[in-house]
Symmetry: C2
Subunit: 337 residues, 2 copies
Amino acid sequence: MARLNMRELALKLGVDRATVSRALSNDKAHLVAPATRERIRQAAGAAGYRPDLTAATLRRGRSHTVGILVSDLGNETFIDVIRTIFRHLDARSDAPSITPLIAETLDHPDATRRLIHTFLSRRVDAIISLASTEADTAILQDAAREVPVVLAIRAIAGAVFPSALCDDRAGGAMVATHFAERGHKIVCQVQGPPLSATFKNRALGFSEVCASRSIVETPQRIFAETATSAAGKRTLDALLAISPRPTAIFAHNDALALGVIEAMRHRGLRCPEDLAIVGFNNTQLSRILAVPLSTVDYPVEEVSRHAGELVRNLIADPSYRFESRLFTPSLIVRASS
Amino acid sequence: MARLNMRELALKLGVDRATVSRALSNDKAHLVAPATRERIRQAAGAAGYRPDLTAATLRRGRSHTVGILVSDLGNETFIDVIRTIFRHLDARSDAPSITPLIAETLDHPDATRRLIHTFLSRRVDAIISLASTEADTAILQDAAREVPVVLAIRAIAGAVFPSALCDDRAGGAMVATHFAERGHKIVCQVQGPPLSATFKNRALGFSEVCASRSIVETPQRIFAETATSAAGKRTLDALLAISPRPTAIFAHNDALALGVIEAMRHRGLRCPEDLAIVGFNNTQLSRILAVPLSTVDYPVEEVSRHAGELVRNLIADPSYRFESRLFTPSLIVRASS
DNA sequence: CTGTTAGCGCCTTCAC
DNA sequence: GTGAAGGCGCTAACAG
């Protein structure tokens, strides 16, 4: 079925293409006589006319498209943030809706560069990165010369981008404080890959409080290669080999925590009696466990809303005086600690 | 920074825009003298020139874009299939790379219609739906008049679309056979929402084998509102109220299985001693559990490859005589059954 | 092998 | 309130 275009539709109605364009637009519809406008909209609907957005993009210089980089599509928190950002972006029913171009970097700088290149070639109106690492600083700065670049979830140390972040350091600190209050003297972290600022900051906040409250962080540090439950599971042996043995673990996210818990269960160790555990993110998983997981609730809503606002304002006015913000998470104490 | 366009680049090099276009293309580069071609490519790289793909799309009538519908971005199996499809689509290094437009339907027919509309307006070269339900039949058939529409994972009964599916009925049958072999006499399913053909077929295959091997399926059927662990957790009360009490459960996916297991743990019931459980999908989760979950391995690779091939061939030639295929999953017996 | 020309479908002046 | 005309950046068709 050949697609109907605007010229053909105009011809059929005996009006000019420009009139059709105006009648079908959001912002210029008032320039068309109400009767004509309705007639045109009716006919467009009946004929199944669909404006060609690639042509409109070329003409307008605006694609109503936003590129979004995420390191791992399997991460519930990232997905929640993406969903929520676009819910906010599309909530403005006056503005035309925005199509996200979602791409996964898997934390490969090469992939990141390629994807950003693609975004720019496709004329995205802005880029949101939930995946930035220090390796991407230069690429992102380059991109920022062409379109607004907004960072969410992950900051880049030493680079100034409009951003919407969780105060991971405060989150780490909350966990340490909680351990102190529960009387733990020896604790340990199961750290996520320090490539992303997220985990670095969680570790920092936790360690600072441990130092100030004279809790001993075991000298051995446990790093998981990835922030997944499989990697978490593999850390238990190392954890149990530590002497003196910690009584509480801060796992840098819920997946890691789950891995540790399953490994413990396998060995017949109980949580929290043998080892208390706190995770991070407050994922669905943390709630369904038979021993519900203590965790830090990620401020998904706030981070997403602010990221959405930054993007919207920067698209409307690239010189918009943006404000980066850091949102405070909150500790949720459940049965695992 | 004003973006450089092809005309400006050509001017700078003292050649025609068409020559630049050819030199930078994949398929017509051989038409340009090697020396000129290299000079142009160098200069393009140095100047940071990026062809405008929206303009190219308009001219070519091909966007090198594929729309992909998924019901739930939080589902590991869907994400795996999406990843794998695009790995296959992009593997052909001769062809220009394809940008996916990923959109989540949450199984709302309205959202589906809107998203398909957007895809077509953005001139996608094809649509892949991993989210089709019977409510979408008409919309998808409409769309199929404009671009190839390929179904993956979920079929639509009574509609003919090129598709790449898992033989869910066979999968359900395998689980029942396994229960028969283990000597279970009374069994029950925790069914996912029948909206998607997936769960209907799993249920059917399971029930058929139960009937033929004279295993009793408990008269009460357990339906989870969604195929999530939270919903699975809530089914345990109903399961335990069934009389006669089943000794084995077929949960329609791993998330449901996990929910049931956690609820059991909460009550002090052991798996598999008190209740054997088998899930579906062979997700990461199923492997890390302390009592590793028996499950049915989803043929992600085959489904994805075939979906990718269908899309590639149908884009190249819309009248391509496609073959829909059904791939057989395989039972993985672990400790939970 | 390279240049010329035209036009993809839309939106935005400008004119009336 | 509507029409006429041009051009966004690219590539296909046709010359030469």
